[in-house]
């Protein structure tokens, strides 16, 4: 009995360490990196077998090419699903609720589910015709995903900026009662006015970009142009948020009695 307890005591830390390590590694990002490596390996095999098949179109070469293609598709869809979950994490980890953000999280969950399903469905490919049909079908559906992924990219950035706004508002609310006795001083009044106008300007910019993102459609959609324009707007919002936070810090440092 004593030996058993001694064994348990000695092995427990090792067991707990292994569990902790497994948990730490089980993130969407590490899944994505793993699946990406898998895809690269299987895609290289697929490229070789396809070249062999096109050079010598025998049944054996065809089967080898189809099997390697199935493996590459499986790894590709799992990598896509993991990437979508990574993107979803960047959108949702701020905990901000906003229409464009909530929609992006829901859409990304659907896309991830679709790719997980496709990874499984790739197992049913048997013939060359199956492979072609599978790819054609996937191309048709994933064409619509590009728009959603683009919107989610912007939603992730907006989520971060809205979180800054929320934090800045909390900071403002915490210093405002402490400025009550000196709020008539010119510099303090100036600072408070700047906060009011600045925050309103930022809110307007966020709303405008959110609307522009939501209104995107497949017909007049140029991803590069949209990214360029959105990056400019995001840069401008960041500058304004930085200015706003500086004013709050200035009031907190120089006028609030600590």
């Amino acid at each position: 009995m004593k030996k058993f307890f001694l064994f348990v005591i000695l092995t427990l830390p090792i067991f707990l360490g292994l569990v902790q390590n497994a948990r730490a590694q089980n993130t969407h990002l590490s899944d994505y990196q793993y699946q990406l490596d898998q895809y690269r390996r299987y895609y290289a095999e697929y490229s070789n077998f396809k070249a062999d098949y096109l050079a010598r179109p025998t049944l054996d070469n065809e089967q080898k090419a189809i099997i390697s293609a199935k493996q590459a598709i499986n790894a590709r869809d799992l990598a896509w699903a993991s990437f979508v979950l990574v993107l979803s994490d960047t959108v949702s980890d701020t905990g901000v609720s906003y229409p464009v953000i909530d929609k992006a999280v829901a859409d990304l969950a659907e896309i991830a589910k679709y790719h997980f399903g496709q990874a499984v469905a790739a197992g049913s490919i048997v013939t060359r015709a199956d492979l072609t049909a599978f790819t054609k079908n996937e191309l048709k559906i994933t064409a619509g995903h590009k728009l959603v992924l683009t919107q989610a990219q912007v939603a992730g950035k907006l989520a971060r900026l809205i979180k800054f706004q929320i934090d800045a508002k909390m900071a403002y609310d915490s210093i405002l009662p402490k400025l009550e006795t000196i709020k008539d001083e010119v510099s303090v009044q100036n600072g408070l006015d700047q906060i009011q106008t600045g925050s309103q300007q930022i809110n307007d910019q966020i709303s405008a970009l959110a609307k522009k993102t939501t209104d995107l459609n497949m017909e007049n959609f140029s991803r590069d142009t949209f990214y360029t324009n959105s990056t400019e707007t995001l840069t401008s919002i960041r500058t304004n948020v930085g200015r706003l936070v500086n004013v709050i810090i200035d009031l907190d440092t120089n006028y609030v009695r600590h």
Binding site: W80, F83, Q153, G242
Partner: protein
């Protein structure tokens, strides 16, 4: 009367003073009853005490007189010193928020989407 007594006392201690006319008339008027031992002590003690007291009293008088004629203390006008502007050492609790805003990367796309072959097939596919 007191001066007479003093002169007589001194004459008793120092008979040699009879050589001076001022002491001659006191020689027989007052008689002091001192033992020879006390007389000896006083005879020697009195000059010694005088020698000691004279410089002490002289010094005291000198210090007193010095105090009367001490030159007035000259106090220079204060030099104007530039005091440094007081700087606040308080660190705002909102500085981490400022750093987060500065670290925010507005570049799109982020994260960068992977590039995959979306046309895996054994025959050419046209979209």
């Amino acid at each position: 009367m007191f001066a007479t007594k003093v002169k007589a006392f001194l004459l008793h201690l120092y008979p040699e003073l009879l050589r001076f006319p001022i002491f001659a008339k006191f020689s027989s008027t007052i008689v002091f009853n001192l033992t020879p031992r006390v007389k000896k002590v006083m005879r020697w003690g009195l000059p010694i005490a005088t020698v000691l007291l004279v410089p002490i009293i002289g010094l005291k008088i000198g210090v007193f007189l010095l105090g009367l004629f001490r030159p007035a203390t000259i106090i220079p006008t204060p030099i104007e010193v530039t005091s440094p502007t007081p700087t606040s050492t308080y660190q705002s609790t909102f500085l981490p928020l400022k750093r987060s805003v500065q670290d925010f990367n507005p570049a799109l796309p982020d994260p960068l989407p992977p590039v995959f072959d979306e046309k895996i097939s054994l025959e050419p596919i046209t979209e």
